[in-house]
Amino acid sequence: MSDDIRAQVARQFIESIPHARALGMSFVEIGQGVAELSMPYDSRLIGDPATGVVHGGAISTLMDTCSGAAVMAHPANPRSTATLDLRIDYMRAATPGQALVARAECYHVTRTVAFVRAVAMDDDRDNPVAAATGAFTIEPARTGA
């Protein structure tokens, strides 16, 4: 599979997800085992009404989706993937009003499992809002038969 087709498949994979659409996610970049997704600031996602800070759950969702996209974009060509486990560290509150960008890297795959690292950032790129590590299933590509 060429890189272009793989990127297109990964893009379709994300765009077909109703909840990714509900959060307004869009691709910034997709490559071999790497994905970058952006999510606009939205008052519906506020977790702390006193400050307007986005709820951690929305950030988890962005990083989970981005991690899944990185797995789908891996040269191993998985047919599908699902999260086995995900750990999120919240380092600081996201700045209200700013879009969030997640960047995920699928750094190792076996026949059955993909290992992923991700970070979430606002405009201050050098100072991440959250980090995640996860294990994802790999549904093998259909090889005819």
């Binding site: 759950g57 929305a58 599908s80 086995l84 750990r87």
Partner: protein
């Protein structure tokens, strides 16, 4: 002489309005349409199913991120509710003027056991340790059978009194 117990409706009304106030302030809880059932001090959170929480349209299954958010919300509200319960039920039984600030998540680890089916999900949180600064909470989520979990999670939280000091 022992004080007469309060009328049931007075007790119920105080507890339900305190819980409603705690939850109503958070837009994201409304966005995901998470509601809370209360029996005494025990809370069960309900993730009311909607097509927009789907993460895999082929199966279909609930988005793993929504599951994580549901579990995290359950943990946070449980911690906030425990603080609030002390205030409204300890001593003079009055609803305080201001709600307690909710704790902040330090880290959260979700264990996905099976895919979330396209129907309502339920969760309960157990506070394993709640100190002055940190709390450790375990959450379990299920759909059809209470004993067949579809996800569980453990998280650490910074309690609000200390969270304010770090701001």
């Amino acid at each position: 002489m022992r004080k007469r117990p309060e009328p049931m409706q007075v007790v119920k009304e105080r507890r339900d309005s305190a819980l409603a106030a705690l939850v109503a302030g958070v837009p994201y809880i409304q966005f995901l349409n998470i509601t809370f059932d209360r029996r005494g001090d025990e809370l069960t959170s309900v993730l009311n199913f909607d097509e927009q929480i789907i993460g895999n349209p082929m199966l279909p299954a609930i988005h793993g991120g929504v599951t994580a958010a549901f579990l995290e919300t359950t943990a946070i509200i449980q911690l906030g509710w425990q603080e609030l319960w002390q205030e409204i039920e300890g001593g003079d039984a009055t609803v305080p003027d201001s709600l307690p600030r909710l704790p902040k998540t330090i880290d959260f680890t979700v264990d996905y056991l099976r895919s979330g089916l396209p129907r309502d999900a339920y969760a309960r949180a157990r506070v394993n340790r709640s100190g002055r600064r940190y709390a450790s909470v375990h959450v379990e989520a299920w759909q059809d059978n209470r004993s067949r979990l579809f996800a569980q999670a453990t998280g650490h939280f910074l309690m609000p009194s200390d969270a304010e000091l770090t701001e």
